[in-house]
């Protein structure tokens, strides 16, 4: 009955997990996403995996970008993914990892369900393009 316009926006959570305190990259990403027209929630530093899960579920984000520069991705990312599954939120969340990830770990993360890993020097447009093309469709 209503001729109301839909107002869909891509929602992203940019998350810093664990003990690494370097968030320049996360800030730059957050701003680039905003300028691309996304709505960005930033988690703040030193979050535990369950905090990230809480934020991703409550904010109902389409995209979860985890920035890790500490090398602890093999412990932290699986916990986040497990948590998302627990809340039934994994299937329609695009999980991305950014940071310094060795090639062999990259494959493992992708097997776990990470959609893509972006290393240092990835052009911002590439990440944004990837999100636009892969954001899960929602009813």
């Amino acid at each position: 009955m209503s001729a109301e316009q839909q107002e869909r926006a891509v929602r992203c959570l940019v998350a810093k997990v664990g003990l690494d305190g370097h968030d320049r990259g996360a800030h730059v990403i957050a701003r680039a996403f905003r300028d691309a027209g996304f709505e960005v929630v930033y988690s703040g530093l030193h979050r535990a995996p369950e905090d990230i899960v809480q934020a991703a579920v409550q904010e109902d984000v389409d995209v979860l970008g985890i920035s890790i520069l500490s090398g602890a991705h093999n412990t932290l990312v699986p916990k986040v993914i497990e948590g998302l599954k627990e809340y039934d939120a994994f299937d329609d969340t695009l999980v991305l990892v950014g940071g310094i990830i060795p090639d062999e770990d990259e494959d493992e993360l992708k097997e776990l369900g990470v959609a893509e890993v972006f290393g240092p020097g990835t052009p911002m447009e590439e990440t944004i393009e990837f999100i636009r093309n892969n954001v899960p469709e929602r009813a």
Partner: protein, 412 residues
């Protein structure tokens, strides 16, 4: 639009099966479902109206608190501490934090979540960031609907946080039962600007960062302003105040108690004289309900507290919660809550109806070749704005008349 069987207003919009399941899940406590419903509300996904419709009967259980203030006043930090304090006493909490979005790209960085340090990992604090997606006047509808979702979910307290920058934001906080206006010390000019608009909507004023220089002065300025607003109503206002204090004696830390403290003797006397008939005045005061002026309603009977907090350390948060409780108790005991709710729902209905009729009209304008073409024709003196308006709205009005006639026939 054509041929749609315009439903009588007793009919709620129909829920799809998926949405019915979603509502079911939300009501049974699924965080995921709650989050998803708020997304649908935000996106105005087709069907969201039926969802909100279905939730309405489950609402009314939560105390809804609006918090507004200038950027940097410490709203998010205070909300974090408030949420933690509510949790300590066993209440569950929902938070909706509204941030502005870029008028150019529509993008936004929603930063309030960073301050929620005291409640990370606690799922019983449901924190949701919303952006002001260029929704013309629709922001308050979206946030009010999101509050309903949290309320229906069963949250005891729902906090609505927004930057007090303009009419949009004022509309947002006005959907709350209790409104706190946050001010930071040394913002003398701020307090000046608060006079217009924001001051009228505050039920509680909070000077945050009260450990900073100039806090006392800001408190004094606010106190003075609160009194002036009180003074503007002369004897009548004071009378109401007396009535309120009668009604709520016994409620620990009652609002009236606070209020009396702020009063100077002269006012107070006036109040006591008027007590009897003003009290009855109030009971039958349905006239208030029709008036749109909240200021008129609330300052007749409730004197806002001016409190001090240091959000960083949590100082003053307990007292603030007491003030919120006192205001909630006052609303219930004085019957003011009915007036407030009626006014709020009236505003909601008006907004929705206007938006829907506006959408109908917009579609009609398109059918007539679009607004630019119409404007051009007016400019060429082919036609004039009144004729155009008549051509567009006339058929809509005719449809309504026909429907009415059909309805009457059926009724007979």
């Amino acid at each position: 639009m054509a041929g749609s069987d315009a439903p009588a207003f007793a009919d709620a919009p129909t829920l799809s099966d998926d949405d019915a399941a979603l509502v079911e899940d939300l009501l049974s406590g699924s965080h995921r479902a709650l989050a998803r419903v708020i997304t649908k509300i935000e996106n105005r996904t087709p069907g969201y109206r039926a969802i909100v419709s279905a939730l309405h009967e489950h609402t009314g259980g939560a105390d809804v608190i609006g918090i507004t203030g200038s950027p940097g006043a410490g709203k998010s930090t205070l909300v974090d501490k408030l949420a933690a304090a509510y949790r300590d006493r066993g209440d569950t909490v929902g938070v909706i934090a509204v941030d502005p979005s870029s008028p150019y790209t529509g993008g936004a960085v929603l930063g309030d979540r960073i301050r929620m340090g005291s409640n990370v990992g606690d799922m019983d604090v449901f924190f949701r960031s919303m952006s002001a997606r260029g929704q013309l006047g629709g922001l308050s509808t979206a946030t009010a609907d999101a509050v309903k979702a949290l309320d229906a979910f069963g949250k005891d307290v729902v906090v609505l946080e927004t930057v007090g920058a303009g009419q949009n934001e004022v509309d947002v906080v006005r959907t709350a039962d209790t409104v706190a206006v946050l001010v930071q010390p040394g913002s003398g000019d701020d307090v000046q600007t608060l006079k217009a608009g924001i001051l009228e909507i505050g039920d509680v004023f909070v000077v945050n960062k009260a450990d900073m220089d100039g806090a006392q002065r800001t408190v004094a300025e606010l106190e003075e302003m609160v009194h002036r607003r009180e003074g503007g109503t002369t004897g009548r206002g004071a009378g109401h105040h007396g009535a309120a204090s009668m009604a709520s004696t016994g409620a620990g830390g009652s609002p009236a108690g606070h209020g009396d403290g702020h009063h100077d003797g002269g006012h107070h006397d006036g109040g006591n004289h008027g007590d009897g008939h003003h009290a009855s005045d109030h009971a039958g005061g349905s006239g208030h309900g029709e008036s749109d002026a909240r200021a008129g309603d609330s300052h007749d009977s409730w004197t806002p507290d001016v409190l001090e907090t240091v959000a960083n350390s949590g100082e003053g948060v307990e007292a603030l919660i007491e003030a919120f409780d006192a205001h909630a108790a006052y609303l219930r005991e004085s019957g003011e809550i009915e007036v407030t709710e009626r006014r709020r729902y009236a505003a909601e209905i008006r907004t929705l109806v206007r938006a829907d009729v506006g959408a109908l009209a917009t579609a009609e304008i398109e059918r007539h070749g679009g607004i630019d073409r119409l404007a051009e024709r007016v400019r060429d003196r082919e036609t004039d704005p009144y004729a155009v308006a008549e051509a567009i709205v006339g058929p809509i009005a005719d449809c309504v008349d026909e429907e009415r006639a059909d309805d009457d026939e059926r009724d007979d």
